[in-house]
């Protein structure tokens, strides 16, 4: 978990199929980085809701790390997970070297991998 000396690129893997828009990542990030109202290190975007031709509903949320995100370098140096990963109420965020996360990405659909 702790960032190594390997110069590997790290990132976040998000299983957005189960993102519920609970705002936990947004607020956890604000508190960690000391951001003011209007500032975000990660922001949840919305697609939908709308009905597909089959009648099934399409409604997805996608947390997007912003340029203020530093992958919680201070927390990670202490041996913690990034605060969004730690607190995510659906438990759908993963932190690690992108190469490792890419393997996990192959496990199921509706996941995204962010590199930093």
């Amino acid at each position: 978990m702790q960032k190594g000396e390997d110069n590997a690129r790290y990132g976040l893997l998000i299983d957005y199929e189960y993102c519920t828009n609970c705002h936990t990542c947004e607020v956890a990030c604000k508190k960690e980085l000391g951001l003011k109202p209007g500032e975000y290190g990660i922001k949840v975007l919305e697609d939908g809701p709308r009905q597909n031709p089959s009648g099934k509903w399409e409604w997805s949320y996608l947390p997007v790390p912003t340029s203020l995100c530093n992958l919680c370098e201070k927390r990670v140096a202490e041996g913690r997970k990034p605060t969004c990963v730690h607190h995510c109420q659906s438990g759908i965020m993963y932190y690690g070297p992108v190469e490792e996360l890419a393997k996990k990405l192959a496990e199921k659909p509706k996941m995204v991998l962010y590199s930093k």
């Binding site: 609970c22 936990t24 947004e26 509903w57 607190h87």
Partner: protein, 775 residues
């Protein structure tokens, strides 16, 4: 998903030092409010809370935390918090206060208590409490054990319509309460070898991801979905869970009893029920078979506006899934047929054999029976005083003690008429009725103004405190208090991780302080809160350890709660025999008690008191069905409105409307609109909800504006956007339970400068209310 935490950092003891921080590992539960009790790590320095994290070692939440607890520091050290006791110096409503000491405040209370006792009788003291948080038992003890009054009331929540109907239906039918089993009762969670995943969860009348009602962490549903659980969602609005469900039943608000009867009809007629359970463990099945004949799916479709095929398909899917759980919620309570719907839905659980099986609806008691919640200290009220309870004699279920409250609708009548006796004093602890749960809030405002003396215990100055209080006492927050939680399981410590803000006191300290003054015979035996909590943990066959030991343990799971099929094992009844705690010892489809009380013994549909089939003429003026009270992520009921981080997410009160309906009314998304019916109106901002029935609109509750002037006539704008300007008091189901907060009617139109000259709050506080304004 909840693994890979650094276990060297996230330790399992209760307290440790980490660099400059003292870390306290405990749980939080009010204040600020919510129904959960998540495990947290409190990082403090010199007595001040500096950081908070979710505790990865708490099986309840496994590290995760919602935005409100993550924002704890902003709340605890908000400059708006009450800092010391305040005594009113202006008129009520002037928001003028004088700082006093706790001793001065207690002197005033004691003198008032003595005067009331000598001149009016202690029964003329009534207490208002809020929803289920760690401020339930404390006001109950103050009211009953200290003041000696029997009059404890859910803060003007009409029809006791929050969990009381569902709990009461559970208690009458099977003698205990049932909850949906997402593995939360066992410390190993999903790894408990006896546990099974619910194949189907019916999410009925709640959006648990946001509301976390009744001690159920909503995201456990997501955990189950990730394991493959399928969903059926019953909700008039499209929620995220509804969008993900295999079947979404978009019902007409207030028709849940009919829908449940339709399910029962299909399951019985298609022989999908659990014969073994019905034959061995139930009473009155034949009567139910007769009753459901009156509710064929075609008729239920007409009542509920849900297509017949969907009803049949959903009933089959639920009945065939083994196991299946029903995660029910507040909407079931907030209708005329609350008790009837609660009974019919409980019948579904029994009929399908899902009672107390792994992954079904499991029987739970408060861990180690350590919590009496609102029922605390009832043993101190003698029989002749019980007879003086306000309004209780009109409601047999209240009279029998199934609910520890006096009926709020009757208390309102009492304040208005002075009968059976005038109320001399109101004690409000952790409740802000006119901003939050009082139906017909302007009427409640006028009635509460009549009470001569009022004490409010709260965190912040609230509209209710400004309007009514003579004394305002500052309460400590969860992270500043020693207490415990035993609502369901586990038994959890609530240990102080920060010094108390300014001169605030915990609810427990206030109980002891007042108890030692007014009833030293009952409270002098406790040296301090710690000793008192130990007594509460140990008394009447509780745990065999003291409060400090609980603090060390942090969580203690009670094996009784995670034992399945307790009725077969003789674990429910005091005589040790198999069966349920009911007069027949069986699950009761028909309740002999209901018969004794003069109620229909079987579930039935009751039409909303206002609606297209009851008041068609009214619908010409107010053509939309109004449902209220959907939850907000960042604000728990009327709380959190002071906090910049929460208000960034929720800047304004929002109402939901189908875009087609909005277009017909010339309303654009983001427009301020009036919601109005014959009781009053309020303004909220329009938000389009494509999934909402075009004939239904939804309004938020709990809105007031701490950023506005506190003094009347502004009163923090408490009536400006108050959806309870439109709801009712005194309108409830035949059992006195359930009020139509979620099924009334209204019209919607744009706010314009011409129709917004006088604010609703000014109309209520200065002009005698809406009926005056209309004349």
């Amino acid at each position: 998903m909840f693994e890979d935490f650094n276990m060297e950092l996230y330790r399992t003891e209760a307290r440790w030092q980490e660099g400059e921080y003292t870390v306290t590992r405990t749980s939080v539960w009010t204040a600020p409010g919510c129904h959960n009790g998540c495990g947290v790590l409190l990082y403090s320095k010199n007595g001040k809370l500096e950081k908070i994290e979710g505790d990865p070692n708490a099986p309840f939440n496994r590290g995760r935390l919602c935005l409100r607890c993550i924002n704890m520091i902003e709340q605890v050290y908000s400059n708006d918090r009450l800092k010391w006791p305040l005594k009113r110096v202006g008129e009520k409503g002037d928001n003028k206060w004088q700082r006093i000491t706790w001793d001065e405040a207690y002197d005033i209370i004691e003198a008032k208590y003595n005067e009331i006792k000598d001149n009016h009788g202690v029964e003329s003291i009534a207490t208002l409490v809020g929803t289920g948080r760690n401020s339930m038992w404390q006001p109950a003890v103050i009211t009953r054990a200290i003041f000696g009054s029997p009059n404890l009331c859910f803060g003007f929540l009409s029809g006791d319509s929050c969990y009381q109907p569902r709990m009461t239906a559970n208690l009458i039918k099977l003698g205990d309460c049932v909850i949906s089993d997402c593995s939360q009762t066992h410390p190993l969670r999903e790894k408990n070898s006896e546990w099974k995943k619910p194949e189907v969860i019916v999410v009925w009348g709640n959006n648990p991801l946001v509301s976390n009602g009744d001690g159920f962490m909503g995201h456990w549903i997501v955990d189950m979905m990730r394991l493959g659980t399928k969903l059926i969602v019953v909700d008039p609005a499209l929620t995220w869970l509804a969008a993900k469900a295999d079947i979404w039943l978009r019902g007409r608000p207030g028709t849940d009893a009919a829908l449940a009867l339709g399910f029962l009809n299909v399951i019985i007629n298609e022989d999908l029920y659990d014969h073994d359970f019905v034959e061995n463990w139930t009473y009155g099945f034949e009567d139910l078979v007769e009753r459901v004949k009156e509710y064929p799916p075609e008729k239920v479709a007409d009542i509920t506006w849900i297509p017949k095929d969907q009803i049949v398909e959903a009933a089959r899917m639920y009945a065939k899934a083994k196991p299946a759980a029903i995660q029910w919620g507040l909407a079931i309570d907030m209708q005329m047929a609350a008790m009837e719907a609660s009974g019919a839905i409980t019948d579904l659980m029994a009929l399908t054999g899902n009672i107390d099986v792994p992954g079904g609806n499991i029987i739970q008691r408060y861990a180690y029976n350590r919590s009496k919640k609102y029922g605390s200290a009832i043993e101190y009220i003698p029989e002749e005083m019980l007879l003086k309870r306000i309004g209780t004699y009109e409601s047999p279920i209240h009279e029998s003690g199934y609910t520890p409250f006096i009926p709020p609708d009757k208390l309102l009548e009492c304040l208005e008429t002075g009968r059976p006796y005038p109320v001399q004093m109101l004690w409000l602890q952790g409740t802000n009725p006119i901003a939050n749960m009082a139906g017909e809030a302007p009427r409640v405002y006028a009635a509460m103004k009549k009470v001569p003396f009022c004490v409010v215990v709260d965190l912040f100055m609230t509209p209710s405190a400004v309007a009514f209080a003579d004394l305002v006492l500052p309460a400590a927050m969860s992270v500043e208090r020693d207490s415990f939680r035993a609502w369901w399981t586990p038994l959890r410590s609530i240990a102080r991780g920060a010094e108390q803000y300014e001169q605030s006191k915990s609810d427990e300290e206030i109980v002891l302080d007042l108890g030692k003054r007014i009833r030293p015979d009952r409270f002098d035996k406790y040296k301090d809160v710690n000793e008192y909590l130990t007594q509460l943990l140990k008394e009447d066959g509780g745990v065999d350890y003291d409060f400090d030991t609980l603090v060390e343990r942090v969580n203690d799971f009670w094996d009784w709660d995670y034992t399945y099929q307790k009725h077969e094992k003789g674990l429910l009844r005091s005589d040790g025999q198999p069966g349920f705690v009911t007069p027949t010892g069986l699950y009761e489809f028909t309740s002999p008690l209901f018969d004794v009380w003069g109620f229909d013994m079987l579930p039935k549909h009751i039409e909303p008191v206002e609606g297209p089939y009851t008041t068609p003429e009214l619908m010409r003026e107010f053509p939309l069905i109004l449902t209220t009270g959907n939850r907000l992520w960042g604000c728990f009921h009327s709380e959190h409105r002071q906090l910049p981080t929460m208000r960034e997410i929720h800047p304004d009160p929002m109402m939901d409307i189908n875009p087609q309906t909005a277009k017909e009314l010339g309303i654009n998304e983001g427009d301020w609109v009036w919601l109005e019916n014959r009781r009053g109106r309020c303004k909220q901002k329009a938000r389009f909800n494509i999934g909402l029935d075009p004939k239904v609109v939804r309004g938020e509750h709990g809105w007031w504006f701490p950023e506005k002037e506190g003094a009347e006539p502004t009163l923090y704008g408490v009536f400006d956007s108050n959806i309870n300007n439109l709801t009712t008091m005194g309108v409830h189901g035949p059992t006195h339970y359930g009020a139509p907060y979620k099924s009334t009617v209204c019209k919607v139109y744009k706010v314009t400068p011409e129709n917004d000259r006088v604010s609703p709050t000014e109309i209520v506080t200065r002009m005698g209310g809406f009926s005056y304004a209309k004349r």
